[in-house]
């Protein structure tokens, strides 16, 4: 233990604490709390019942006040630990409250009413996970549909992106032809054109093509990513041309060269692009919001934002569905973080 602590807390030069050492640890621990805290709070909150969510001050973990059905009373009654005048504590159920005095009964002997000052009692609380927050939106609302739409858009868009971008990257890295630099320039120029600049005319094109209110209208405009072409082209440039020439000698067709030789060798870059594409498409919001106006077509992001505006009071469902929306990205983060961080550090593109 001592060794571990010394390893974790080792300092510059090993002599005494410099102010930068202290600042480092304050920043790191503060960062840990600020960066992870909100997400952890979201997960805990999503497991609370509506009653527990309305409490202030809130409890960290999802507690509920225990209730018991008592003979002679229709509704379940709240249970409290009540301090008795003789100093002992009894578990009592509250019947009604008048001013500062609560009328309570022993659940085992409901006939006798005990009067307790409300300051002398504390609710009996047990931890309970409101899993119905997760199941109900899937059963009673369309969230299963939204989940499916999101998965469909993400998977299809990523597959098309990989195919289309890698073909273009192959052409731009392994062929000499007229207009190559023009094509590169055009792709470079489109880096400057974010969705927010072209959304009005893009919408009219999507409508003209009959893709309004269609998941394909969400997918198609996003697949020809300039970023993807660049990442893949950079990588393909490192594949030796001799390999391709040798394949041509062996009478391989150009398609076979692309499919059997270049693509397998580009696998690491394809993996990075696939991860990025999955995260981009899963998280897309503004464009699906414009293209999809029918409820059954919403993606999770759109559905969630629309519902959070409408079901303003139903935070328990919203929070649970937010967690569901977050899960795939968290999984990507946990297992594939290395690819993403090296990808960003290498290309500077998000």
């Amino acid at each position: 233990m001592g060794k571990v602590a010394r390893f974790i807390l080792r300092r510059k030069g090993g002599k005494g604490w410099h102010w930068t050492d202290i600042f480092t640890w304050v920043w790191l621990v503060g960062g840990l709390i600020i960066m992870f805290g909100p997400a952890v709070w979201l997960v805990f909150s999503s497991l609370k019942t509506p009653a527990a969510l309305a409490e202030f001050p809130p409890s960290i973990l999802p507690y509920v006040t225990s209730q018991a059905t008592v003979e002679g009373y229709d509704k379940p009654l709240m249970l409290y630990d009540a301090k008795m005048p003789d100093g002992s504590t009894r578990v009592l159920a509250e019947v009604r409250r008048i001013g500062l005095v609560a009328q309570m009964v022993d659940p085992k002997a409901p006939a006798e009413i005990v009067k307790v000052n409300i300051n002398d009692r504390t609710p009996v609380r047990t931890m309970s996970f409101a899993t119905e927050n997760y199941t109900e939106p899937f059963v009673h609302f369309d969230f299963l549909r939204y989940l499916w739409n999101s998965v469909f858009v993400t998977v299809v868009a990523t597959v098309i992106t990989l195919v289309v971008n890698s073909m273009a990257a192959f052409a731009l890295s392994k062929y000499e032809f007229k207009g190559r630099s023009l094509a590169m320039l055009v792709i470079l120029a489109t880096l400057m054109v974010p969705l927010s600049v072209i959304m009005v005319p893009l919408y009219s094109i999507i409508s003209t093509l009959g893709l309004f209110n269609s998941l394909w209208g969400v997918i198609l405009p996003t697949v020809a990513t300039p970023t993807g072409v660049f990442i893949l082209r950079q990588y393909m440039l490192t594949i030796p041309d001799e390999l391709i020439d040798a394949a041509r000698m062996d009478k391989a067709s150009e398609w076979q060269i692309y499919w059997r030789i270049v693509l397998p060798l580009t696998a690491p870059a394809l993996a990075v692009l696939a991860i990025f594409s999955v995260v981009w498409r899963w998280n897309d919001f503004l464009w699906p919001l414009i293209v999809l106006s029918r409820r059954e077509l919403y993606t999770l992001q759109v559905g969630l934002s629309i519902y959070s505006g409408e079901l303003n009071v139903q935070w328990h469902f919203i929070l649970a569905m937010t967690v569901v929306t977050m899960i795939p990205v968290v999984l990507v983060f946990i297992f594939l973080q290395r690819f993403i961080t090296t990808g960003i550090a290498g290309t500077g593109l998000k």
Binding site: K12, L28, M35, P57, P58, I187, V200, A224, E254, L319
Partner: protein, 324 residues
């Protein structure tokens, strides 16, 4: 993979014919075509149409149903007595959005660079479990804007975590998202939270590219750490840092999704930003005016083009330096 391979073999049959007919150069066109086609239809065409759009009026979306009105949309946007006072303008929402976006960009980018630089410097130290700490700061970058917006809406609401924290110190709960100034501050804080790790990562890559022997030499000369920072780290990091600044500016100008989910532009118009103005003018509002939205988006696009050209210029200069 077997079925995929079978499909590829079937595709190969017509493609071999094509190759025979067009030669190898023709195949290059074939490989490029799908990507360029999609580019053309969904990026280049809209870009061109956007200019036409911005010179037409009416509420119809199809160009054939719109009337040509020349520069009227632009003059409407610029119809203003005093540009610093949005209320004196005909399109007061546009100038409110411009003003909000300006302050947002200035504050968010400067705070972003500062915090990202500090984080990168710290992550560049000899830390135990460095990749863990890097992951901590990077984590929110991948979250969707909607998730980010909802997480913070939940924290900032009246019974939220922030008020709970203040309550612990004996302070009264406050409705943060109904206060104009606090809401504006929240939009900056939330976007810092969500994107800082991305910029920290790029700066960290820049820091790690600085040759270690420079630091060793400085240490041998007994140079003070502060001097090492100002004389070695910062000058050598400058090109990288400039790219990060421009990148942050480009992203910041387009701020939309997480803020839209968090505040919806409110209270009032205190967090209405340009992209939301374009979206609402073009699509959402009852009195939609796609032409006006197109004109506004072209103005925003102009700003972004200038910023991107600066970025590319910096990148070029860095490359040339490397070659020499």
């Amino acid at each position: 993979m077997a079925p995929v391979n079978a499909v590829m073999r079937i595709i190969d049959v017509p493609l071999r014919r094509l190759q025979k007919a067009t030669g190898i150069g023709g195949m290059a066109t074939f490989f490029l075509a799908p990507n360029m086609l999609i580019f053309g239809i969904f990026v280049l065409l809209p870009l061109v149409i956007n200019f036409v759009y911005s010179m037409t009026g009416g509420t119809a979306f199809f160009l054939s149903e719109r009337d040509f009105i020349g520069g009227e949309q632009y003059s409407r946007l610029f119809q203003c007595q005093n540009y610093l006072d949005p209320m004196s303008c005909q399109e007061d929402a546009f100038w409110t959005a411009v003003g909000n976006t300006f302050w947002f960009v200035v504050l968010q980018v400067s705070l972003m660079i500062l915090t990202a630089l500090i984080t990168a410097l710290i992550l560049n130290r000899e830390l135990a479990a460095r990749s863990f700490w890097r992951a901590v700061f990077f984590f929110p970058v991948l979250l969707s804007p909607v998730v980010v917006g909802l997480i913070w809406k939940w924290i900032l609401q009246r019974q939220g975590l922030l008020n709970f924290g203040l309550y612990q110190f004996g302070m009264d709960p406050y409705t943060w998202l109904t206060d104009r100034n606090w809401t504006f501050a929240a939009t900056i804080g939330v976007s810092l939270w969500a994107h800082m790790g991305f910029y920290a990562l790029i700066i960290l890559a820049g820091l790690q590219a600085i040759p270690k022997d420079l630091y060793e030499a400085a240490e041998m000369d007994g140079t003070k750490p502060a001097r090492v920072f100002w004389r070695i780290t910062l000058p050598l990091l400058a090109p990288n840092l400039l790219v990060v600044v421009v990148l942050a500016l480009i992203k910041s100008v387009q701020v939309f999704d997480e803020i839209y989910v968090l505040t919806g532009g409110g209270p009032g118009t205190s967090t209405l930003f340009l992209t939301q103005y374009i979206y609402e003018t073009g699509f959402a509002s009852a009195l939609r005016n796609p032409g006006l939205a197109a004109a506004a988006s072209i103005l925003m696009g102009g700003v972004l083009v200038v910023l991107t050209l600066i970025q590319l210029g910096i990148g070029k200069r860095g490359e040339n330096k490397g070659k020499r």
